[in-house]
Amino acid sequence: MSLWADKYRPKTLGQLTYHPDISKKLKLLAKSGDFPHILMYGPSGAGKKTRCMSLLHELYGSGVDRLKVDVKTFQTPSGRKLEFNVISSPFHMEITPSDMGNNDRIVIQELLKDIGQTESIDFAGLLKGEDTKVLSNNKKRFKVVIINEAEQLSRDAQAALRRTMEKFSANIRLVLICTSTSNIIDPIKSRTLAIRVGLPSIDECGQVLETILSHESMARKEFPSDQSERYEIYRHIADACNQNLRMGIMMLEALYMNNDKVTPTTAVIRPDWQLVIEELARGILKDRSVSKLQQTRSVLYELLAHAIPASLILKGLTLELWRDIDAFAGIKNRDQTKAEVVEAASVFDERLSLGSKDIFHLEGFVTRVMVVVEGDVSGETR
């Protein structure tokens, strides 16, 4: 028994429930036996990885599910040993650049060259006694390399990918998975087939959750028997997780684990950092002073120490502020304030991605918001 999110992950393209058009296209792609380099993008929890694995399943059969984890070692030019995990099946290989830190370029170069220079031989075909002609024309001669979190690849690494993608295209197919294409350099974008996987709608979320519950008979007992009530719970969940389906499924599971009886009024279990951010956003609007800023700073430190990515904090704060500005009575010119807050968010998001000291920029954002709100409340024109 494992996590539901894992247990009920669709294995084949046929099992995928939502985005039927994407599934159809992928099926057609798989049928041709070959596919170009793929860039899959979309928000987290939308099912990018699932779709990618389903495609491979369609292509290679159940062999792709025989996963194993290897620890590979590379040596950097400076002599440092670098270790990272590679998840692989006989047909594909999966790497995550964020494991490698600054040395992703070397890893990409070495690893891809390594794979690209060895042709895979279809032993299965040989054993079956297929003739050599079939073998040479074998459509599945290439190996697939999946790069998770491709947006984390450094510029250098992406540049290293460019040529490799073309040179070794006979042996390698790349699947880049990322949440946003803005960090991917253009040459790579042009070399790949971009597939966007959007979030499921709230109803689609509900359906997925319903299917899961129907399989979990023990859990189902604790949920209301009335279907509409159940769907209301699903809606709550989908709301809370922003339609991030993986998170939604985990929330469902958490709901089951933490409650004796689940009713539509049961509070959805949300990650507590979200609550902290909500609290923070309210505080910022209410009290715009240096001493509040000091408190903010410790909260931000706390959030960062709990491994919440700074960009996520910024995003959460902005969205919360957006919501709270509507509710905050003191503000006169709501639309303009909102616009300024969002502008500030974009500015500081850029700074976050360019700089490395998250706390500077998060606090800078909070300060800017305080100044904006203060200006509006006291009626100054900025």
């Binding site: 028994m1 894992d6 990650p271």
Partner: protein
């Protein structure tokens, strides 16, 4: 009165100390005021009054001169002895009511006179050299001609620091006690080096030090030596306990000077090995050996001075030094055991004796705790040099200035120079040499001079000394306006500072600024907002700097941030007390915990990412935590629903988590009565939780889960056991059935094939036995011992248990060999062995 006999070589060190101390502090006040002497003499009388008077005295000066002292007889050189003093002596003597050894007192005065006699121009004594080239054995007083003239002629092109380097013990500045300690340490070598008795050590603290090391007082030691056998740890030559002296301290405090002066004064030829010499193993070995074993041309023994040994590149040198010391220790120990003192005393005593260290070594460094000195440190007599006190330095500087014709230098200038050099006399002298040449007659020039001296205050002189100011000092400088300096001046200062700091230090300063800006009294939201732009700039710069290694100069632009912060927040009264103790600032304690958390997080993420199926992002982990460790329901409810517990446990197991019990201690290291144990999940998911209440609840739940997990594992084990037994039983049944010849179907695996063969064999064997055919029996037994089971890798935990179990079942048959074959094992080699071949 009978003639007193006193070895002055002992007493110069011991007995004159008290006097020297006072002399030292007022080195230039040459005509001692009577009050000074008064106290000195008083002390002496108190001290020596208790010592029995000896008949006559022969004074051996440190330079080897022997002076015979006769009681009540004034020598010619003493004509100018101050009458006031001698009358004072008498006064004191009367007061004390004891027999005062006037001779001693006079002799004390004479030390000065002797020095004066040698250097007629006593007030100018820095430019003369103390005569010390008298060979130790003969007592002929040899007067050295003062070299004043030659020095004067070279004045124009000499560094003052060299010119005014102390030449005699009296010239030395610094802590009198440390000076004396070095002197007496070196004196302890007398016996082995000069074959003359080691002087009594009159310094109580030093005696204490030696006794602490298990070293007897030298005087006693000497008598013991003559008696033959002595104490256990006694050095056969009464050498000091540590054979190397390590002098350490900041630059410009006179470490090299004291080593040279004292070595010279005690009649050694100095052999210096400093950083300018090649100090790789082989080269230095020859030099050290020469220094330690040979005599110099002048016939004087050498004293090895290893200067500046704290560099990293001196490993070979230090290794050699330590090896010399260890060899010496070994030889000494052997000597002590064997008692072959006579042979060893002879310099050419043979191989063993040659290993004994016969010459003193003095090592000098700035940082005694440098990593390269780690091995050497415990073997050394450590002497710390501190900064000399300001008064001494000023006096010396005034002296030098007056001698160099700078006239009387203004007190303020002196103060400024001494303060800014932070007690580095050398840099002070340098300063005066190069800046003092501009004449100081008019008041305006003097003020510029003073300004110049002040301009060096704090910052530039540190650059001059080649040491940088600590980053936190710079940080505090940024925020604190000094009342007396103007803002532009301070800005200039900070800028020069920033330029001198390396990049990584600058980053620290920026972080410190970031920490502090919220606490400034002048801070405001607008100001902070503007600053955030600059912080961003600094951040980008430092990141770029890291990206392009070798282009560290970009990093200096980070100084712009510091400038900006300075412009905005520099104030006389910076930190508002109201906010000073508030949160916001990242304290060291929290910083540590945050660091811990980051490490834990990374580990956890790594562990989770090893799970190939599911890739979780960090923000989802708190939800995961509430699935695996549900704290929402009460404990009873939770444990009553078995499927939930089961689910949690199995999910955790699937993800590769396990439970751990740790016994904890109270913060003070005591066991607290309850909560002796904490239960945590490994990896610790609590890292991702922010509400403390949840975290505290977790423990109980984990405990429950753990119990369940253990129970389940046991159950699983039991299940596996049962399975195993059943299998074994089946196997047995199979054998029986095969025995009976009922072989159904073909063998699926080699193991089964073997079983069949085995049963055939055993039947054959029994037949053979019945027949009584010995040959067949032998062969059959040999083959019967060969049994191979090919272990199917069935996966899971049960594997190992299963194997053990199987072994247990089968071990009833004693004469079998089980060869296990692990399929997953890479170096397992398959060999084609046909069964039919084996079984013939």
């Amino acid at each position: 009165m009978p003639e007193l006999k006193l070895d002055f070589s002992k007493s110069l060190l011991g007995q004159t100390q008290v006097e020297v101390r006072d002399e030292q502090t007022s080195a230039s006040k040459l005509d001692n005021s009577s009050s000074d002497l008064n106290t000195v003499l008083k002390k002496d009388i108190e001290y020596y009054g208790s010592i029995d008077a000896v008949s006559s005295k022969v004074i051996v000066l440190s330079n080897g001169k022997k002076v015979k002292l006769k009681p009540r007889k004034k020598e010619g050189s003493q004509k100018n002895a101050r009458k006031s003093t001698s009358s004072l002596d008498a006064d004191i003597a009367r007061e004390m009511g004891v027999l005062v050894n006037m001779e001693r007192l006079r002799r004390k005065l004479k030390i000065r006179q002797i020095v004066e006699a040698q250097e007629p121009d006593f007030s100018n004594r820095f430019v003369t050299k103390f005569g010390n080239d008298v060979s130790n054995s003969e007592g002929e007083p040899k007067r050295k001609k003062p070299r004043t003239v030659t020095f004067r002629s070279r004045m124009g092109n000499t560094m003052w620091t060299e010119k005014y380097r102390p030449q005699t013990f009296f010239d030395l500045l610094g802590n009198e006690r440390t000076n004396r300690r070095i002197l007496s340490w070196l004196n302890q070598w007398n016996e082995v080096v000069f074959k003359r008795p080691t002087p009594d050590m009159m310094i109580p603290e030093f005696m204490a030090l030696n006794e602490q090391h298990g070293e007897p007082r030298s005087g006693q030691g000497r008598s013991n030596l003559q008696n033959g056998d002595g104490e256990e740890n006694r050095d056969p030559f009464n050498r000091p306990y540590h054979k190397i002296m390590l002098i350490y301290g900041p630059p410009g405090t006179g470490k090299t000077s004291i080593a040279h002066v004292i070595a010279n004064q005690l009649g050694y030829e100095v052999s210096e090995i400093n950083a300018s010499d090649e100090r790789a193993g082989a080269e230095v070995r020859a030099r050290v050996r020469n220094g330690l074993q040979n005599r110099s041309l002048s016939g004087k023994p050498t004293c090895l001075i290893a200067d500046e040994i704290d560099g990293a590149s001196e490993q070979g040198f230090i290794r050699y030094l330590t090896s010399v010391l260890y060899r010496d220790e070994h030889a000494t120990a052997q000597l002590r055991k064997g008692g072959t003192l006579d042979g060893a005393k002879n310099n050419k005593g043979g191989g063993k004796a040659r290993q004994i260290l016969r010459r003193p070594m003095i090592a000098i460094c700035n940082d005694a705790y440098a990593s390269s000195l780690e091995k050497l440190r415990p073997l050394c007599e450590m002497v710390a040099f501190k900064k000399s006190n300001t008064r001494q330095i000023k006096t010396r500087l005034r002296d030098i200035c007056s001698k160099e014709g700078l006239g009387t230098v203004d007190e303020k200038v002196l103060d400024a120079v001494v303060e800014c050099s932070s007690g580095d006399l050398r840099s002070c002298i340098n300063f005066f040499q190069f800046h003092g040449s501009s004449c100081l007659t008019t008041s305006s020039e003097q003020s510029t001079f003073e300004n110049e001296a002040k301009g060096r205050d704090g910052i530039t002189d540190d650059a001059m000394k080649d040491t940088q100011i600590a980053w936190y000092l710079l940080a505090s400088e940024i925020f604190n306006r000094k009342g007396r300096t103007s803002k532009p001046a301070q800005r200039k200062k900070i800028q020069s500072f920033v330029l001198s700091l390396p990049h990584n230090q600058l980053q620290r300063v920026v972080s410190a600024c970031f920490n502090a800006i919220l606490e400034c009294s002048s801070t405001g939201l607008k100001k902070l907002e503007e600053t955030s732009r600059w912080l961003y700039f600094g951040d980008v710069v430092s990141r770029k700097c890291r990206a392009f290694t070798g282009r560290a100069e970009i990093g200096t632009y980070e100084g712009a941030v510091i400038n900006e912060v300075f412009e905005k927040f520099n104030d006389v009264d910076v930190f508002s007390s109201a906010r000073a103790n508030d949160g916001g600032r990242l304290h060291f304690g929290t910083r540590d915990t945050f660091g811990d958390m980051k490490i834990q997080t990374r580990e956890t993420m790594q562990r989770i990412s090893k799970n190939p199926q599911l890739r979780l992002s960090v923000d989802e982990l708190s939800i995961l935590s509430s699935i695996v460790i549900p704290t929402g329901v009460s404990l009873q409810e939770f444990s009553s629903s078995a499927d939930k517990v089961d689910h949690a446990v199995s999910v955790a197991r699937k993800l590769g988590f396990h439970y751990e019990t740790k016994s904890t201690r109270g913060k003070d290291g005591e066991f607290s009565n309850f909560h002796d144990k904490t239960h945590i999940m490994v990896p610790n998911l609590a890292v991702f939780l922010m509400s403390q209440s949840t975290v505290s609840k977790q423990e109980a739940v984990i405990q429950r889960l753990q119990r369940h997990y253990l129970r389940r594992r046991e159950a699983q084990k039991a299940l596996e056991e049962r399975e195993r037994k059943r299998e074994a039983a089946e196997v047995a049944r199979g054998i029986v059935s095969e025995k009976n010849g009922a072989v159904g179907g073909k063998a699926l695996s080699s193991a089964e094939f073997f079983k069949k063969k085995y049963s055939e064999m055993s039947t054959k064997l029994s037949h053979g036995q019945e027949k009584g055919d010995a040959g067949t029996k032998k062969v059959a037994r040999g083959l019967g011992m060969l049994a191979v089971i090919r272990k199917k890798s069935s996966g899971g935990n049960g594997n190992a248990d299963g194997e053990r179990k199987e072994k247990g079942v089968m071990s009833a048959n004693a004469n079998r060999i089980w060869i296990k074959y692990h399929e997953g094992f890479s170096n397992a080699v398959r060999k084609e062995i046909t069964w039919s071949h084996l079984f013939g």
